[in-house]
């Protein structure tokens, strides 16, 4: 039996999995995974991308059938469909949300188990209950709002509200905080505490080790589909977790990046950038070889500002100087041709064509390089293969659709795609969202190399440690205004938070 058996045992096992195997065709992705879930316990599932966490929780929740092995619910063997699992109270909240974009919040929450009054839907009751569920989550979304119109964090909350409305006994959260701000994460943790107290067993998947350390009672680690072990959380340090996941010692997560020399030229300077309703009066400078972090809460206008800089916002105004020359980008292609590139944080919807192969994705942004009248297929392929090497993109078959790549490989491909135009200024928005520790470290090292070779980098991230670990200076935005540009010792979590939440600082101009 698993190591959990020896762990302290104050509650009954709700759901247990023994010796779970899973094959996709000839490809075995899980090689005997064990897990015991106890009521009122948060059980973290850790592993690099592709370790089999998502497949395993899909088996737990009935979306996939195991090829071998057994699931026991309250001691009884079960082979269930996702509907049956849900009825039994085992609910999975997907990493990619499962919401119908055109439905309202209320309709989504009650989808499939609508409350009826006679033949008709009891809209009033469902709206009232939806409002209640959302209230409990501290979520301000209206039950009447369309999913499509909600920010990504609210979509997450709707998913969780949907689960809580179903009297979950086992709640599986697959990277719930990837899209949440710090404040929203706090709300989620409070909610998890409450659910724990009610005796719900929680499976928690996340790459953020701090979170695991904070909320997990037990940790199970998977590596390449193999069960590494289950441990009481208090016995593992973050380093232990990382080591067990990767199976080797990690280098320092954040590489040292030398600050630019005082004589380094100003690569880009932004003066008084505004866009109605999104941000206003933003001004800052970026030196060659510098990493300028951008911190702020979701909705502070960081992404909107960057999109405006590269010419994706036709409503914006302000002046932009590149190496001393005033330029204006009317479109992304002009920014690209001037050596300014932007990596979106939304890989799936804005970054990569999920239904096409890797090569056309790789060359889409730099296609002009490979084409006179016709595309030079050989040249394109050569560049692609070179990029696969450079960026260490690992895909068994180079012809697969991008949608089937892991998040880490997608992120590397996105990086390769943008770097192919050889930009001088690179704006990177959330470079490590939903990516395992190993790949994260690779991307950090890559950013360091870029800076060392004279590129100028703007780094947007909602992971405070990432910003602090990599940036030379940190700009903070709050409600559409640039409230501070911190440097040296000022770069510290609480200080950043004070500016991000508006406790400190008004608009600053450099």
């Amino acid at each position: 039996m698993s190591a959990t058996a020896q762990a302290e045992n104050h509650d009954a096992v709700v759901l247990s999995a023994t010796g779970i195997y899973k094959n996709f065709g000839p490809n075995e992705v899980l090689h005997g995974v064990d897990l015991d879930l106890r009521a009122g316990e948060v059980h973290a599932l850790l592993g690099e991308n592709g370790a089999g966490k998502s497949t395993f929780v899909k088996i737990l929740s009935g979306y996939e059938a195991p090829s071998n092995g057994q699931l026991l619910m309250d001691g009884a063997v079960c082979r269930w469909t996702s509907e049956e699992a849900e009825d039994a109270g085992v609910i999975l909240i997907h990493q990619e949300f499962n919401l119908a974009e055109q439905m309202t919040v209320e309709e989504s929450i009650f989808l499939g188990r609508e409350i009826k009054k006679g033949l008709f839907l009891n809209k009033g009751e469902m709206q009232r209950l939806s409002a209640e569920y959302l209230e409990a989550l501290d979520c301000k979304a209206s039950p009447l709002a369309r999913i499509h119109d909600l920010p990504i964090s609210d979509k997450q909350m709707v998913e969780i509200a949907k689960a809580t409305s179903r009297n979950a006994r086992v709640l599986i959260l697959d990277e719930p905080t990837a899209v949440l701000t710090g404040k929203e994460t706090e709300v989620l943790f409070k909610l998890i505490d409450r659910l724990k107290a009610q005796g719900v067993a929680i499976v928690y998947i996340s790459h953020k080790l701090e979170e695991i350390e904070r909320i997990a009672d037990k940790i199970t680690i998977l590596r390449d589909g193999t069960w590494v072990g289950s441990y009481p959380a208090k016995d593992l340090s973050k380093d232990d977790m990382a080591r067990l996941m990767v199976g080797r010692e990690l280098n320092d997560l954040y590489p040292r990046i030398n600050p630019p020399a005082d004589t380094a030229p100003i690569a880009m300077s932004i003066t008084d950038f505004s866009s109605p309703g999104k941000f206003e009066g933003a001004s800052f400078e970026l030196r060659e070889g510098e990493v300028l972090g951008f911190a702020g809460l979701v909705g502070a206008g960081r992404t909107a500002l960057m999109e405006a800089i590269v010419g994706l916002d036709s409503q914006s105004s302000g002046s932009l100087t590149l190496y001393g020359k005033v330029v204006e980008f009317k479109g992304l292609d002009e920014a690209r041709n001037h050596g300014v590139a932007y990596l979106t944080k939304d890989r799936k919807e804005k970054g990569l064509l999920q239904s096409l192969g890797m090569c056309p994705n790789f060359s889409l942004f730099s296609l002009h390089k490979f084409s006179n009248l016709l595309i030079d297929g050989r040249k394109e392929k050569d560049a692609f293969h070179a990029a696969i090497e450079t960026f260490d993109i690992r895909a068994g078959d180079l012809s697969v659709n991008v949608g089937s790549l892991s998040g880490g490989n997608q992120q590397k491909l996105l990086l390769a795609k943008v770097m192919e135009v050889a930009p001088k200024v690179v704006i990177i928005d959330e470079p490590t969202r939903g990516i395992d520790v190993g790949t994260k470290s690779q991307i950090y090292h890559f950013i360091a190399e870029l800076a060392a070779s004279g590129h100028s980098i703007i780094l947007l991230s909602s992971e405070m440690t990432e910003i602090i670990g990599l940036s030379h200076r940190v700009a903070v935005m709050c409600a559409g205004r640039l409230t501070a540009v911190l440097k040296g010792d000022e770069i510290e979590e609480h200080e950043i938070m004070r500016y991000a939440t508006g406790l400190k600082g008004n608009a600053v101009n450099e």
Partner: protein, 337 residues
């Protein structure tokens, strides 16, 4: 691990093969059916007829492949063909009243056709992109407009090209080069050009990208509106080329000309393996699709064992089976394991 990947490769290869050759299998099956139904099917004359006939729909469908690959749809092509044919005839007849009949008049007609096709395509594209109206609605609208305009121009009847001009123009449809009828040659050239443009140029690649995900395309510095408008212009040009070889066939245009061509063109595109919601397209598949559609009609005319009233049923069944052959291949390949 490596043996797993190679096995995976094999599986993918098999899947890809079935998917790719699906339309070809349907074509071969139809071919065999044709021979079984009537020996006359194999005669040179009949085979030439099939090729020549499929050239109208085929050429239009090549244009439709661009529009559909880029995630659009054009329902107006049939009406557009009728309208352009009508205008060509009126223009050539008007010129014939003042000029000696001859090649100049025909060239003027051809030029008019190209201008009209480009303009009509631009209108569809502009309304879709800048007007931000769904392509389905825009082209449904223009479909009605062109259809009623041609009825108006023809005064409800038929526009006929005057005889002298017609004699000059007639060879464009009826003559051949090295035994290959001109319409077939034009079809071939359009298909080859279409293939090169869709698969080997930046514009073609951008069509795939936009059809696959417009937002990603926009964030990759693709001029989405411009490229989409261009696909409609390509479609308009293809319609114009089709009418240039259609008009000399019967020398006339009426409100009936080109009815349902839009559906046949779309069917040819889909049978050929292009994805209706965009993001993936292939020209040669479209060519095969057009041949399949024409061949069905031809085979039905060569037999009296199927009631005339059931023609639609036979066509419908064959279209669905042809598409199933390539879509169904997904499941087939899995089971083969």
């Amino acid at each position: 691990m490596s043996s797993v990947t190679s096995q995976l490769d094999q599986k993918l290869g098999l899947k890809l093969d079935l998917k790719t050759v699906g339309p070809f299998l349907a074509l071969i099956a139809l071919f065999v059916l044709g021979i079984l139904v009537n020996q006359a099917f194999l005669s040179t004359g009949n085979l030439t007829n099939i090729l020549t006939r499929s050239s109208f729909i085929g050429i239009i469908a090549v244009g439709a492949t661009f529009v559909i690959t880029a995630g659009g749809i054009d329902l107006s092509v049939g009406s557009m063909a009728a309208f352009i044919s009508g205008c060509m005839i009126v223009i050539m007849n008007t010129l014939a009243a003042t000029m000696e009949p001859g090649i100049m008049i025909v060239l003027a007609g051809v030029l008019a056709s190209i201008i009209l096709g480009t303009a009509a395509g631009f209108v569809n594209g502009f309304l879709t992109t800048k007007g931000k109206i769904e392509a389905f609605i825009v082209t449904l609208g223009t479909m009605g407009i062109y259809r009623s305009l041609v009825t108006y121009v023809a005064d409800g009847g038929t526009l006929s090209l005057n005889r002298a001009t017609r004699d000059v123009y007639r060879p464009v449809y009826y003559d051949d080069f090295l035994g290959i009828p001109f319409p077939v040659l034009v079809f071939l050239v359009v298909a080859v050009l279409g293939y090169i443009i869709l698969n080997r140029t930046v514009f073609g690649r951008h069509c795939f990208a936009i059809g696959s995900n417009e937002n990603v395309a926009r964030y990759s510095a693709v001029h989405v509106d411009r490229v989409k408008t261009l696909t409609y212009i390509v479609q308009g040009l293809c319609v114009s080329i089709a009418t240039i070889i259609y008009v000399p066939r019967l020398g006339s245009a009426s409100a009936q000309t080109g009815t349902l061509w839009e559906l046949e063109a779309i069917a040819a595109v889909i049978i050929g393996g292009t994805v209706l919601k965009g993001g993936y397209g292939r020209i040669w598949g479209t060519v095969v699709g057009a041949l399949i559609l024409t061949m069905i009609g031809n085979i039905l005319n060569l037999t009296d064992s199927i009631s005339n009233y059931l023609n639609g049923t036979v066509q419908g069944v064959i279209i669905v089976v042809a598409v199933f052959l390539q879509r169904g291949s997904w499941r087939l390949s899995k089971k083969k394991k």
